[in-house]
């Protein structure tokens, strides 16, 4: 087995993993990392440990790879810290609910260690809303918004519309842009997608034929009246007005062969 002494790993365990029910899976992960010779420094987050300080201390000590151990929220928090640093990011999804792991092609629990050891690294674009980075998409379920591009602006006419700003577009309710491969997280562009909804309690999409798609690098989102809510990667929340930009090739991330792009 080749040794990875030149690559220093920092494993960040999210605070929810302090629950005893995760101790077995963490032992299995640590054993597998040892087998694969990619053990590193482990940091268990709790209310007294600040993730940003932990990562910055690690970088000062020569850490080159940070691995988020947890769920999508863990990954998203780490992304927002390391985006400005020259660090490779890995993910070990624990609890089987990670959709970002699906995007990156990373299996759950100890099986993710194989992907980490293979170190297939891709540089991905990130979207940025105000100061918050996102890897997949941001959605606005309000028709009273205007998307302002450099020389033109667009606004939904329909009362029921879903506005998505997609880097990949896998996490939105409107997956057509991802399924039809209209978005690519490495092309240097985001896509603004406005899709009319059918209304009613299920708010289903009216179909790909009726939607609007605009590639962009920078837009402003404004709203009439009350600020509209923007859901970022289906977990964080921001409000309008907001500026959305693409940060090309911003993230160095370890991916698996079953990734979605």
């Amino acid at each position: 087995m080749a040794s990875n002494y030149n690559i220093m790993y920092l494993y960040i365990y999210d605070s929810f993993l302090n629950n005893k029910k995760y101790s077995n899976v963490l032992i299995r992960i640590e054993n597998r990392l040892a087998d694969l010779d990619i053990k590193g420094k482990i940091c268990r987050l709790n209310i007294l440990k600040n993730m940003k300080e932990v990562i910055e201390d690690g970088v000062n000590q020569g850490i080159k790879t940070v691995v988020a151990v947890g769920d999508d929220l863990t990954f998203s928090k780490v992304v927002n810290i390391i985006a400005e640093l020259d660090i490779t990011l890995g993910l070990i999804p624990v609890n089987g609910k990670s959709k970002i792991a699906q995007i990156l092609g990373i299996p759950n629990d100890e099986y993710a260690c194989e992907v980490l050891a293979q170190r297939l690294i891709k540089r991905l674009d990130l979207g940025k809303i105000n100061q918050q980075y996102f890897i997949d998409s941001a959605t606005i379920a309000s028709p009273a918004v205007t998307l302002e591009f450099d020389n033109y602006k667009i606004s939904p006419i329909s009362k029921n519309s879903l506005v998505s700003l997609c880097n990949l577009g896998f996490l939105t309710d409107n997956q057509t842009i991802y399924k039809e491969r209209l978005s690519n997280p490495a092309d240097g562009f985001l896509e603004a997608v406005v899709a009319p909804l059918k209304g009613g309690i299920f708010n289903k999409l009216k179909g790909a034929v009726k939607q609007s798609i605009f590639p962009f690098t920078k837009i402003k989102i404004t709203s009439q009246g009350e600020p509209a809510t923007i859901i970022i990667d289906q977990q964080a929340v921001s409000k309008t007005p907001a500026e959305v930009t693409v940060a090309p090739k911003k993230l160095k991330v370890i991916v698996g062969s079953k990734r979605l792009f």
Binding site: F149, D150, N151, Y152, K153, I154, S155, P156, I157, S158, S161, L182, D187, G188, F189, V194, A195, P196, K210, Q211, S212, I213, F214, P215, F216, T217, K218
Partner: protein
């Protein structure tokens, strides 16, 4: 948006302006564009333009080629082929190399066929002035 090279959209990626969207301003693209909604301003693309029967465009339009089934109020400058279906309504002048008009289409304006290009293409379908 597309003033600099960096801000240009990727080649041949379609921009789709659906029926539930209104676009205002100067839109310039590199790839193919499909319009089913409302456009106010100017529209320019180096690719193909498809205007659906529900579309209402109040703009000067420039494109490499175009298929129009909707309504355009403004001048059209099409570098290659323009196809107007029975539901097309054009309120403006047309400058084009090759034109195809289906019965029922309305053109309220001048049609100018590019002479240099027609010499090389030899077979313009229509050249008329209203």
């Amino acid at each position: 948006m597309f003033k600099s090279e960096k801000n240009k959209p990727p080649q041949n990626v379609e921009t789709i302006i659906g029926p539930s969207v209104k676009l205002e301003g100067d839109f310039a693209g590199e790839g193919d564009i499909v319009i089913e909604g409302i456009v106010l301003g100017n529209l320019k693309t180096k690719g193909h333009l498809q205007v659906g029967h529900e579309a209402k465009i109040t703009a000067d339009v420039e494109a490499q080629s175009a298929y129009v089934a909707g309504e355009i109020s403004g001048n059209l400058n099409i570098k290659d082929n323009l196809e107007l279906t029975a539901t097309a309504r054009i309120n403006g002048d047309i400058k084009v190399v090759s034109l195809s008009v289906e019965k029922g289409a309305q053109i309220n304006g001048k049609v100018c066929m590019n002479e240099q290009a027609t010499l090389t293409k030899k077979s313009p379908n229509v050249s008329k002035e209203n």
